[in-house]
Every structure is written in C-alpha cells, then in structure tokens.
C-alpha cells in the first residue's frame, strides 16, 4: 500500500507480558517517528529514526521501551513487562526527511494497546 501501515490495530495484553508493535513506513521515507497518545491527550514523542543516524531515543519513558528499524524500513516498538499505564494508542509516522527540512509526516492508523 501507499500509506504507513501499523499492526496490530488493537492489542490486549496482560500486565507483565511483552508486546511488539510494528510499523511499515512509506517506501523511500528516511524519517520514522513513534508517538504515544493517551485518551484525549496530545502526542507524546517516543523515538525518531533518520536514515543511518543514531536514533533519538529521548522520549522513551523507561528502559522497558525499545525500538529498532531494520534496513531503514520496517520498525518495531517493543514494550517489556507491560504496565497498565502503558495503555494508549501508539502512532507511527514517516516522512521524506527530518522535520527541519519541512517535509510533512504521514501517519498510520495506530495500535490501540490495552493492558489488563
């Protein structure tokens, strides 16, 4: 497809389990972002990948969160030992270049994570 694809759309997991969220960016987009959005709130920046540069991990809330981007394309966000406060919608976006270059970001539809 032509857009950003995220899977799964919804994920319900038990507290303490690990989860993996996947993002397929638009082909050719060098920049990839992960955000978290709690109900009725704004977008909380998590991590940013740009080409072959070291990722900006400054938004990851704890060491239970990690992300990787393989081959400059698909990205996986992993949350270990999930907690109830991790429940949120996780949004992925990609763009041709970094935000400083003024390129728009294209968003996936998100993964709604519910930790029970």
């Amino acid at each position: 497809g032509a857009g950003v694809s995220q899977s799964p759309s919804n994920k319900v997991t038990e507290k303490g389990k690990d989860v993996e969220l996947r993002c397929d960016p638009i082909s050719g987009h060098t920049a990839l972002y992960w955000y978290r959005q709690s109900l009725g709130q704004g977008l909380e920046f998590l991590i940013y990948f740009q080409g072959n540069s070291a990722p900006d991990k400054s938004g990851l809330p704890s060491d239970r969160f990690s992300a990787e981007r393989t081959g400059g394309s698909v990205s996986t966000l992993t949350i270990q030992r999930t907690q109830q406060e991790d429940s949120a919608v996780y949004l992925c976006a990609s763009s041709l270049g970094g935000a400083g270059r003024g390129t728009e970001a294209f968003f996936g539809q998100g993964t709604r994570l519910t930790v029970v």
């Binding site: 972002y33 704004g42 900006d56 949004l91 976006a93 970094g98 935000a99 003024g102 728009e104 970001a105």
Partner: protein, 113 residues
C-alpha cells in the same frame, strides 16, 4: 516536555462561523505544521509554514506565524460539521539536532450543524 501548546483546549462553534486556534512554542524553529486528527487515530497534515513566512493560505485555512512571539494561529473560515476534529501544531525545534517533530496538546473543535 512538549514544544507546542495550543489554546483553547476545546472550542465549540456553529456551522458557518470561523474557528481560531492558537499555538505557542518554546524554542527556535525552522517550520511549524498543523495537523488534524479524527476519532483519535492517524493524523493528517494540513499546512506548513516556514520560519521566514508570516502567513499562508490553503482553501479555508489560514495560518499565521509570529516568530518574535513564538506563536502561530490556525483560522478555519466558514466552518462545517465535517471540520469537527482535534487540531495539533507541530514544530521541528531548530535547537534540536535530530530534526524530530514535536506536537502540542491539541485543540478539540466541535462544529454544530
């Protein structure tokens, strides 16, 4: 911490009226973008304004940027019920070397038919 902060947090107007949303940010920027979100899922890009621009138009949208006040406004003219959504500003934060895109808390707009 968030780079952009929108106000008001919520806005309710009648169809046909104009809606104005404001965004303030903290650090120097290269550009500022506005996005729209329906139903709490993916965001859609509306318009981008560069730091050397003061005003930009796109259809019923008008965006202004005042870099001296570190603020921007989004005006939607002749609003429609379909404009009901949340609107976010996003900045690149020129002081950030990584070029990440930082969003504000958003304004929830309700347009009543």
């Amino acid at each position: 911490s968030q780079q952009g902060e929108e106000d008001p947090q919520a806005l309710s107007i009648q169809e046909g009226e104009n809606a104005t949303m404001n965004c303030s940010y903290k650090t120097s920027i290269n550009n500022l973008q506005w996005y729209r979100q329906n139903s709490g899922r993916g965001l859609v890009h509306l318009i981008l304004i560069r730091s050397n621009e003061r005003e930009k138009h796109s259809g019923r949208l008008r965006v202004t940027l005042d870099t001296s006040k570190k603020s921007s406004s989004l005006l939607i003219t002749a609003s429609r019920a379909a404009d009901t959504a949340s609107y976010f500003c996003a900045t690149d934060g020129r002081s950030s070397n990584t070029g990440k895109l930082i969003f504000g808390q958003g304004t929830t707009l309700q347009v009543k038919p």
